[in-house]
Symmetry: C2
DNA sequence: CGCTTGACTCGTACATTGTACCATAGGATG
DNA sequence: CATCCTATGGTACAATGTACGAGTCAAGCG
């Protein structure tokens, strides 16, 4: 993941400010690579991110990337983690309303992923980066502080994780393939095998945010510690 | 998706039985392509399915596949739909216990996806095939029969969908990258940023099936029509 | 019978991808 | 000056999806 033999990376960036661009442009760095990858992913989607495009956009040669990164997969990890950074208040310690706090944590997480629709589908298949771990830590701490017993903590966290991921992946995917939706509903019309979901216009009428909130409420009702 | 100009496919297979293998081997067909793709996906994963490998396994030339299929994406759609076929009882019409029935439908769906771990992560990004639509129809009909009002039907279906997909995608992905888990827990150790989730051994100790069932119960509690 | 047509198969070729290998440059250190 | 480390990047290669067009066979028709 790191530069060739770990150790001290970017001697230059430590002495920030001196000698603006020693070579041709600003030097490469994991931060710049990650940020540019996010841009490309936002515009072109997962398949649109190629090492060549990334290098072009960075004004560097393709192989220069490979000094900072072992593999294209690393680029995905970096971009994903960058997108999941948590910018929150310092967390008012013993908040009285734990439920509102959990909802805030999860909605912020979801909103962040929806701003970068590629991220949701990528998250489950990659190792957990520091930023998503931090979000989970926050969630766990809040639940724990709310009185959820240790024995139930993992169940609670994973239930909420599943809900967030399921809702977000589904929503992000449906947004992407928007054109096909009319066709999908059309196809329903042709077959009398699906009367119920045709009547409910399932693929079309969707209050995604409402579904997310309601499902979340149900889960929290069930997970809440009984006094 | 279909053969070159739709119309009558596989003139040969209609007159089944006569002339066993007219050419060299058994002829190609969407069914054979789909079934073989499933085999390859099961063994080699999503990235391991290549058109060349598929053709080899089928004993055909690569380009022959493209008479039956427009694109590799079609192969994924076919494989996915094949895997999601519902083999269920004819559905005892007005069952008394709708809750058990919903749970059965969803657990069967989930089990089917877990048997082919690539399928879960593929499903959200592809158009809804006939077999998954049929499963949704069954689910919708059951809920509707249980008294869920039409206005709440889509919310109920999507909530359950989200739960199933989130739980299954997460579980399937974690199973695949099993090696990294020890490393993941190890990395937690190095940082004091994540005391809560380290204490709970979140990435390791998981009763996936239990989480699925409990979350499902909570959702059904909330979704159940109030009398 | 020959001729045409349409269903089906497949070899060749090409553009695009990730990345291995190697040459190079410049600053730091001896 | 020599030596090493950090960093850049050109060339080359193997793997992939698939466009193109040529080929084969059976059925239908004169």
């Amino acid at each position: 993941m790191a530069a060739k033999r770990s150790g001290t990376r970017s001697t230059r960036s430590q002495r920030a400010g001196s000698v603006p661009q020693p070579r041709s442009e600003t030097p490469l760095s994991l931060e710049r690579i990650a940020a540019t990858a996010v841009e490309l992913l936002d515009v072109h989607g997962v398949d649109g991110l190629t090492m060549r495009r990334l290098a072009d956009r960075l004004g560097s040669g393709v192989m220069s990337l490979y000094w900072h990164v072992d593999t294209k997969e690393d680029v995905f990890d970096l971009a994903l983690d960058m997108v999941l950074e948590y910018r929150g208040q310092p967390q008012a310690a013993g908040t009285q309303d734990w439920r509102a706090e959990v909802i805030h944590i999860l909605e912020d997480w979801r909103a962040q992923m929806l701003r970068h629709p590629w991220s949701a589908s990528l998250l489950p298949s990659r190792a957990l980066g520091p930023n998503i771990l931090y979000r989970l830590e926050l969630l766990g701490k809040t639940l724990s502080g709310a009185g959820v017993a240790d024995a139930n903590l993992n169940v609670a966290i994973w239930s909420l994780w599943n809900h967030v991921m399921g809702a977000t992946i589904t929503r992000a995917s449906f947004d992407l393939s928007n054109d096909d939706q009319a066709a999908a509903q059309q196809r329903l019309h042709l077959s009398e095998r699906y009367p119920t979901i045709e009547r409910s216009r399932l693929p079309l009428d969707n209050d995604w945010d409402g579904v997310f909130r309601k499902g979340l409420d149900f889960l929290l009702d069930g997970l809440a510690p009984k006094p």
